[in-house]
Every structure is written in C-alpha cells, then in structure tokens.
Symmetry: C2
Amino acid sequence: MRKNEVQQNHTGSGHGIIKVIGLGPGSFEDMTERAAEAIRESEVIVGYNTYISLIRPMIENKKIIGNDMREEVERCRLAIEEAVLGKKVGVVCSGDAGVYGMAGLILELVLKRPQEERPRVEIIAGVTSANACAAVLGAPLMNDFAVISLSDYLTPWELIEKRVRLAAEGDFVMVLYNPKSRKRADYLERVKNMVMKVRSPGTPVGFVRKAGRAGESVEISTLENMDKVQADMQTTVIIGNSRSFAKDGWMVTPRGYHI
Amino acid sequence: MRKNEVQQNHTGSGHGIIKVIGLGPGSFEDMTERAAEAIRESEVIVGYNTYISLIRPMIENKKIIGNDMREEVERCRLAIEEAVLGKKVGVVCSGDAGVYGMAGLILELVLKRPQEERPRVEIIAGVTSANACAAVLGAPLMNDFAVISLSDYLTPWELIEKRVRLAAEGDFVMVLYNPKSRKRADYLERVKNMVMKVRSPGTPVGFVRKAGRAGESVEISTLENMDKVQADMQTTVIIGNSRSFAKDGWMVTPRGYHI
C-alpha cells in the first residue's frame, strides 16, 4: 500500500524492479518482514559477499552477483541491467540500505538514464548499525546525535575532521562508522584528541563489533582510553555527550526527564 | 545467543524481564522478527496509546498500561514494578526504542535501584524514523548526518539552535524530529533562517508524515520554502547537504562515487 503510493509518484514501469534492501545488523531475527519478503521475491541478488553469506539459506536457486565479480559501481550497473531486462532484483546491504549503503548509488545511476529506460526502484529500510549497537550498549542515543564515517575513501579527511570538531562542540553524541583500517590506524586517536578539547576524559565510549552476528563483542571505555580499544571496519564506536554515563555494563545518555 | 551474552554481563536475574521494543515506523511488515517475538512473549505491554493501537491485534489478553493511565516516568515505573513481580514486560516505542524512546528512561530508573532489586532489561532496536523517512524520499542519508529533535520540552532551545547551526556549518545532512507543534509554530522558520546562512536556497528538504502508516504523505521542497510546508509532531524533516539533489520525485545525497 505504502510503497505503491510512492511508486506511482516515481518514474519507471514496464521494466523490472530493483529493491535496495537493508538487512539490519545480520541475523534473520533483526531483519524486517518487508526485507525478508523482498529477498524471497527477488530473482537476482546483488551485494557484497559478506552480506550474501548472511542470507545464503534464503537465496538458493537465485542468480547471485557478488563482489568477487565486480566493483561497487559495476555491480550496481549490472543490477540495473538485470532489472531493465524485466527481472526482479534485490540489492542487499547490511544495516540500512540508505546509510553508507547502495540506495544512493542505485538511484544516482537510475536517474541518469532516460525516463523510459528506468526500472522501478524501492528502498527498504533496515536497522542501521548506530541503532543496533546502541541497543547492545544500552541507550546512548537518547539525545541528539551525529553519524560520521571515518573512511576517507569518498570524503576528504579535512571534512571528516571538521565534522568531528563541530559535533563535539555541539555536544552531540557521536556515532563513528568505519573507525579504523590498516591504512587509517591513527584516526581514532585523532578523533580522541579533538573531542578531548571540549569533553571530559571520563566520557563513556562504547565499542560494538559485529553487532547481532556470530562473534559479537562489546566494550565500554572512556574518551581518554578510546584509542587503546581494538577496533576495525566491523566496529561501530559511540562517544557519549557531556551527560552520558556508564554503569554496570550499560551506557546511557539521559533524555532529560526529572526522575 | 547474542542477547544472552549481553544479559550475562548485565545485572538482574531471578526477577522478570523488561524488553524495550522498537516497533519501527508502524506497519507489521517494518517490524523486526525479534520485536514481534518479544511482543508475543510479553505478559504486560506498556506504551503510549498510539503505539499500543498499532499492535492491537497482537496483544489481546495481555495487561496493557497506556498513557490514559499515567505519565511517561510513571508508566516506566509501573513497567519496572511489574517486572520485579516476575512478569515479562514489553515497553513499546515507535521507531527505535533508543532514539528519543523509552530505552534511556527505563535504564535510568532500573540502574537507580539496588542491584538485587533490578529486573533484567533488553533493548530491541527498530527502524528509526530517520531511516524509514529516508527510504521513502530516496537516499538522503548517504553521507554524514545529524539527528536533532526540535522539541524544547527536555532540551533548552538555545542548545537546539546551537546544534542546528553547527550541523549546518559541518555540511551534515540534518534529520529533524518533532519539527513543529502548536506552541512551536515558528521553529522550522528559525531553522531555515540559520541554515540559509551557509547552504543554498535550493537545497532539497524532504518532509515525510506518518511514514509506513495509513495516511502517509511525502513532499520534497527546498530550503527557502521549507517553512511553508505543513508539518506536525508526526512529520520528520530531512535537510540535504550541499551536494544533495532532488529529481523526479526522489531526494538523493551522493556518497561520492565517480560515475
């Protein structure tokens, strides 16, 4: 019902359809029914191999286009080609399809085509890592927050740095995606040094790795020690605001109720 | 598996359990299986009446504590009392339980109790309004974004204003929750005036009301006209960054891929 309304406003018909599907953190239980149904309906599944493997039991007998075959842009082009041929295509992303996922790239590529050559597109939201990790930590996102990716692959480091500095100044809770890679070994230390200028060294900082997947790990540290915690591209980091606290294994940012 | 690990790290046992459940935008299809299962398992359901009504068919024969009975803090206290008596309690919130929801208040209240008098707590993430509305609009959250509530009930307006100004300066996409109420009729105009100082008047601004529920409406406007669009407490507003664009009914923020 809802999506039909939207589709009527949008272009493309007569061709197939691309659904860009947010899988949530990883387990079947954390997927929405809309996402599961979209996967079941798809004839072709496109995605990064890690995500493909999360849903393997659901996609037997479907055509699969993974990253052993092509790069991101190329994979999205292949997805669109399949849809233009009339196929039902599911492009899968972990978390939410619209947060550092494939929703944007698919729409950019589709909207470059002449209207009559566009497949229909539907974006299916999922539980993004910020929310999945917050739930594991407790309730760190109860007040205003900023989501920042520390990957400088597509965004210059100067802009990332500026955003971290401004978010710290605004006392935003900060959610850091892609906090660390081999090439960017000191980025968390750089973030710490910037945030330490305005926030207390004891501010809680939560680390969640592989939320909702086998091997999940959780650690609550402090701002002054955050650069000593192990982190990688599968870790999400949440830095509390000036009122956040950690207690008995939980991290909480008060909403402001008088209790 | 995942949640057991967490529970073992956290306090409370022997009593009942409180699950703080994010329902997602509203329809059953957009709920995770973990949330649905938690609702089915609960003996007592606590929540704002609007959310209770969304899941009415799932909760027949359960004890229901809605807001016709008590205020938020009082409702959470009642939920904790029921759990301490050994009941399985589900506290339901729309969207994600941890984003302006009840997860924080429940944890704050539980952690004030002596360890031996605490029920177990589990937070179940849901698709928050930022992501649900983004999916309806297209892909506006493909780059760093800030989530800000314009409600000054629990946060002073001066701080909200400061956050909007800093988020604008950092070229964050901005997601505004609770954008307007009768008492705060001009807040969107104030936001517009602040953002106009640094962002182009043609910047796309998306409005989604009742995402995923009966009566959903979507509108893509521009920064200079955003104060003229109808909005209320059930609307979420997304202001694009300097690279966001609107085309043929979709709103997209490029991630930065060269295509």
